[in-house]
């Protein structure tokens, strides 16, 4: 088990390293002066700001040296300074990570709380009205873009209930009421797509498992239907569900960017968006690296949960 985890961890670190190369080269696809020109258009900086930016990005040095210096900083938790605000990128990120993680975890929890029971119900009552309604809602959830849902939600909640998302952020452990009133609706919107996808997967995977021989055996032994489904079928049906949750997590994290923007929440997503608008490349690099790190971590969790759900996988 531990060697399995260690191997996955190593692979994750490797992927992160490649991501760092990718985003490092991304900013340097254009010749250095083109970057500075964009910087110029965005904020009309003085020549000394330009010189500082050039030095900041190390554009006057050879590529490998640039990468080594940047990576050396990253390894020590120093992502450089924002080209615009001059504040350290790491510090900016730290202030905002908590909110984005709250959103991601909450939206995942909401999605699974909706998806798993409905998915089980749809599989158990296959081809009944409940099944059709569940499946239709799922396809709908796949097709309504999050930015539209969020836009409509924020407007009508404001018109009908006078609800506006509170501005400052409070973690759930210090002020649960305020935190939930701030994040519950955005999280539900982000989770809609994951709910739809994992509900469909729960249904089809459970249908597949329910016709296995060991389910017939369990029934033949006289187990109650509830015990057969929850005790025998469900855990085995979970592996494909965990797979799609892992795959969809990347989409979910992308959703936080858009929803943070619409609900004016100060998370990493809105930091990235502001940076993209200002072409603040050091901040863009830092934010992309953060998102990649989270995804690599979640993929690791997914791999570990496979081994827990199905012990056969550990020995491969």
């Amino acid at each position: 088990m531990w060697t399995y985890i260690a191997r996955r961890l190593l692979m994750g670190v490797m992927v992160l390293w490649f991501v760092s190369i990718l985003i490092f080269s991304l900013v340097r696809i254009l010749p250095g002066d083109a970057i500075l020109m964009q910087l110029d258009q965005a904020a009309a900086p003085t020549p000394e700001v330009l010189a500082r930016a050039r030095q900041e990005l190390g554009l006057d040095r050879p590529l490998l040296t640039q990468y080594r210096i940047w990576m050396g900083g990253v390894l020590q938790g120093d992502l450089g300074r924002s080209l615009m605000s001059r504040r350290p990128v790491t510090q900016e990120l730290m202030k905002r990570i908590s909110l984005t993680c709250h959103l991601a975890v909450m939206s995942m929890a909401i999605a699974l709380l909706i998806a798993l029971p409905i998915g089980i119900l749809a599989a158990v009552k296959q081809d009944t009205a409940a099944d059709y309604v569940g499946r239709f809602v799922a396809v709908l959830g796949l097709s309504l873009p999050d930015f539209w849902l969020a836009t409509v939600a924020i407007t009508f909640l404001a018109i009908w209930f006078g609800w506006m998302p509170p501005m400052g952020f409070a973690p759930i452990w210090t002020d649960p009421g305020r935190n939930l009133s701030q994040l519950l609706i955005p999280a539900a919107i982000i989770g809609a797509r994951l709910a739809a996808v994992s509900m469909r997967m729960t249904r089809s995977s459970l249908l597949e498992v329910l016709r296995q021989d060991y389910i017939r055996t369990a029934r033949a032994k006289g187990h109650r239907e509830r015990a057969v489904i929850l005790g025998h079928a469900f855990k085995n049906a979970l592996i494909p569900v965990v797979t799609v949750v892992g795959q969809q997590f990347s989409v979910l994290l992308g959703g936080t960017v858009i929803v943070e923007f619409i609900f004016l929440q100060p998370g990493v997503g809105s930091l990235l968006l502001d940076a993209v608008q200002l072409r603040d490349y050091t901040v863009i690099q830092g934010a992309v690296l953060f998102f990649a790190a989270v995804i690599v971590f979640v993929n690791l969790l997914v791999d570990v949960s496979y081994a827990w759900l199905d012990p056969r996988i550990r020995y491969r």
Partner: protein, 319 residues
């Protein structure tokens, strides 16, 4: 009704397997003589929702192509009333069927022209993305070994960044333009597509006809292009259809955030994000109609994708 579960589940699985073999059998017996029309009739009979989606999408394509004829007004024109003032924020009425925006432009006409951008970006980026993904997947699946490892680590890398985040980062470097939007979405699509193609290639390679071709002395490129590629076409078509919906959503999201196709070109995402968001409380229809347009088209692509997957490739059903 607990008693009915095992029966129905088995019946369902048997039906699936039979449906799968039937498709393969009819495709094999009719060979290449099956016309597009008979295929469509099969689709209508077996998957009415999928067929309905296909009809809706064809309608949208026709409207987009004939935008000049269909649109009642010029989408860029600031319409004026009899006093010479712009008809701002008109609710839907007989003259302006879906109302006007804050600059007096006709919403229906802008929606019709917006369909052009959405579909153009959708088709072009999916074509480019799946093409790139197919080349990578064929190379990765056929060569295996070192080539495979290198390509797949590259794929891992790109897939470790959320699509919209990658798109935003690349757009910030490339700058805003229609072509760049297409390039960016193609980059987002390609890794996932290459995974699917690679998996299909690995499966197809096990067949004896590949060994036979090799024994007959066929060159590797010939084996890949003439023997393997036609057999992985079904999964490619299925993911392309699903990705068309996703590509349209990404395009709309970029335009919504003001980082897609630059204004004044009408785009659905741009209408929703710019005009729509600013005037939501006074004129909610400005946001509702573009949102509906995106949702209907994406819904249609998703349902068509589901139908195609069930008909063409039962193995992909669980994805």
């Amino acid at each position: 009704m607990p008693g009915s579960i095992p029966g129905s589940a088995t019946a369902d699985s048997r039906e699936r397997v039979e449906a799968g073999t039937r498709v393969v059998a009819t495709a094999a017996s009719a060979g290449t003589r099956r016309t597009a029309w008979t295929r469509f009739v099969t689709l209508v009979r077996r998957k009415p929702l999928g067929a309905l989606s296909a009809v809706i999408l064809c309608g949208v394509v026709v409207v987009a192509i004939l935008a000049q004829v269909v649109a009642p007004y010029d989408p860029y024109q600031f319409n004026l009333d009899h006093r010479g003032l712009p008809v701002r924020l008109q609710a839907p009425n007989a003259t302006f069927l879906l109302g006007t925006d804050a600059l007096g432009r006709d919403v229906l006409s802008r929606l019709v022209y917006g369909a052009r951008v959405s579909l153009l970006v959708g088709f072009a980026s999916v074509l480019a993305g799946t093409l790139l993904g197919t080349v990578l997947g064929l190379a990765s699946g056929y060569c295996e070994g070192g080539v495979d490892s290198v390509l797949q680590r590259g794929v891992d890398t790109v897939m470790a960044v959320p699509g919209i985040v990658l798109a935003l980062a690349v757009m910030s470097v490339l700058g805003q333009s229609l072509v760049n939007v297409i390039v960016v979405i193609a980059i987002v699509i390609a890794p996932g597509a290459s995974r699917v193609v690679r998996g299909a290639v690995l499966a197809v390679k096990q067949n004896t006809f590949v060994d036979a071709a090799y024994a007959a002395g066929a060159a590797p490129w010939r084996i890949v292009l003439c023997h393997i590629l036609p057999n992985v076409f079904a999964p490619i078509l299925v993911i392309a259809t699903v990705w068309l919906g996703n590509a349209i959503v990404i395009e709309a999201a970029l335009s919504f955030l003001g980082l897609g196709t630059p204004p004044p070109t009408p785009t659905w995402g741009g209408m929703l994000g710019g005009e729509g968001r600013r005037n939501l409380e006074t004129a909610p229809y400005l946001a509702i109609f573009p949102g509906l347009a995106i949702s209907i088209v994406v819904l249609a692509f998703n349902m068509l994708g589901d139908a195609l997957r069930d008909l063409l490739d039962p193995r992909l059903r669980t994805r």
